[in-house]
Amino acid sequence: MAKNDFAGQLLRVNLTDKKVTIEEIKNDIFFEYIGGRGLGVYYLTKEVDPKCDPLGNENKLLFFNGPFSGTMVPGNSRINLAFKSPLTNTYCYSLAGGHWGPELKFAGYDGLIIEGESEKPVYLWIDDDKVEIRSAEKFWGKKIAETDHMIKEDLGGDLKIHVACIGPAGENLVKFACITNDVFREFGRGGCGAVMGSKNLKAIAIRGSKDVKVADSDGLMELIANIYPKFKQNAKAQERRKYGTNELVEHINNAGFMCTRNFSEGYAETTKKFEGPKFREEVVFNDASCYACPIACSKNCAIVSTKYGDVKLEGPEFETLGLLGTNCGLTNWEDVLKASAVCDALGMDSISAGGCISLAMECFEKGILTLMDTNELELRFGNAEAEIALLDMIAKREGIGADLAEGPAFAAEKWGVPDLAMHSKGMTFAVYDPRGAKGMALTYATSPKGAHHMLAPVSIAEIAAGNRFEEKGKEVLVRAVQLNFAIIDSLGICSTIQNGFTRADQIKALNLVTGQEMTEEKLIFNAERIFNMERMYNVQNGFSRKNDTLPKRFTQEPMPNGESKGQIIDLQTMLDNYYNAMGWSQDGIPTDAKLKELGLNK
């Protein structure tokens, strides 16, 4: 049972009537929903009609930290944003690392809800108890880094201020626009930047100076002191420290399921140039970390380019390298870094942007799009200059950029080639082609927010288990990992920190912070409830099995090359088994018995 008085503060800002209020998040809500993603779905379900227009007045942006936020518990930087997605028309959540989430906690808030819409461009300034809505008219149209800098200047130049903002893509309601904090940390997927743009909200700036109270600070510090040395001894943590997420390039490309040329292939010899050691040697100049993270997997990169001049950025991560890089046929760091930097500056999800560009490239190469359609851009795979120009056109909604700004499903439908858009529920797939690790087929198809890998990134487990081409039994693995990640995301910790920070220690830390008596069984129960609530939000909007899809490329076209050659996916049989494992009907809807078990029946 929950005990003690751990409770949180929720800051609510209404942009229509400019009202600012503070509410309590009660202790028992934390015990049932943990924090982060759990609180996100709880409040979204309560407050946002599943049938609302995602770019209308009724949608909200619901930011929630995890219970560890602002402490020294390792990896606790992640803040969750829940919203209805304009890209997929589903429930959506997006997580961001960095320092903005903890700064919200230092200002005294565990959550922030933005509702309504402003008549004119504004930004929100949260300075501990002082909360102001300020004009952003002079910042409208500015790119991400410029906005970050100008807002800090507007507030007196204090570099301790952390800013989350949208770029031109969000202002122009690009359906996969992101919200970016600290210049390079994105709430990437699902188009939250467009939701923020629809509210005429340019940025949220935060400065906090309050202490973070925990139930047992001595016990917590003793536990943390025991945990931190484990990261140095953990091989995976150290590999991530050296190469970041790009340590995955070698494993996934060699296994033949790395997205290549709009997922038409799974392997390229040229992709070897992007492997971790070459990445570190050729473009990384130092490491960066999120708040309270000892692994420091972020990489600051730079290149002096004869084509583009100096290019400098934090990143790119593995997904950006894949979707803007190999999936668009790019073969060198100069082009990948520049494309990543441009996408970041405009404020777009690099995965979805890459998926749109690779769609356009395949259409151009097949003669479906011509030079007349593309404003004379030679949109061939590997043409980085054309890719970079198209990124700009998407952000500004110019030419075919206007079609692509609506998402790959819309563009492909309009161009008469719906099967060439690589998406599920409108969201572009991540790097992992599921023909090479078939558990990912279920991860993508059953995700409540569309084809996002982080609901259950099982491919490495499938490679380790030696059964990646098997379909039978994958529902067990995917379900277990979906529930694990619901816990991770609700605790507000980075998944990489698990390499040293075990579940047992996570539970000890949780109880020392909150004073609760959480158990592993209760955490898993909460996770299952969270996941079913996410599903039910979509069910109430008419979603069912018919929406748990994969494109024909995955189900009917055998992988043509590499170590996954010949593979296709029998999704329907996998879905039958998955729904059984979840306690859902064969139409993909949680049964009354399952809802009652989870306390969700009304």
């Binding site: 995955l248 790097v431 039994g473 390499n499």
Partner: protein, 75 residues
């Protein structure tokens, strides 16, 4: 007997092999097996027994197979 399969980065201090046989005992739990083999828990992501995920406190039947998978993280 219990078969223990260690996948990926998961290692046991008490055995070099990746597939290990140990004696079954009444009321033996997953945690007991891990302690016998000195499996480093910080590398462990998921534990599957007979196609179902299990916890450290779960008891094991004779002739079961434990598959220990590495940690899964983002990227």
């Amino acid at each position: 007997m219990i078969i223990v399969e260690l996948k990926g980065e998961v290692k046991a201090a008490k055995a070099q092999e990746k597939e290990i046989l140990i004696e079954w005992e009444k009321n033996i739990t997953v945690l007991d097996v891990f302690e016998k083999l000195e499996i480093e828990k910080s590398n462990v992501g998921l534990i599957i027994v007979n196609n179902l995920p299990v916890k450290y406190t779960d008891e094991l039947d004779d002739n079961c197979k434990i598959i220990v998978l590495p940690i899964l993280c983002g990227g």
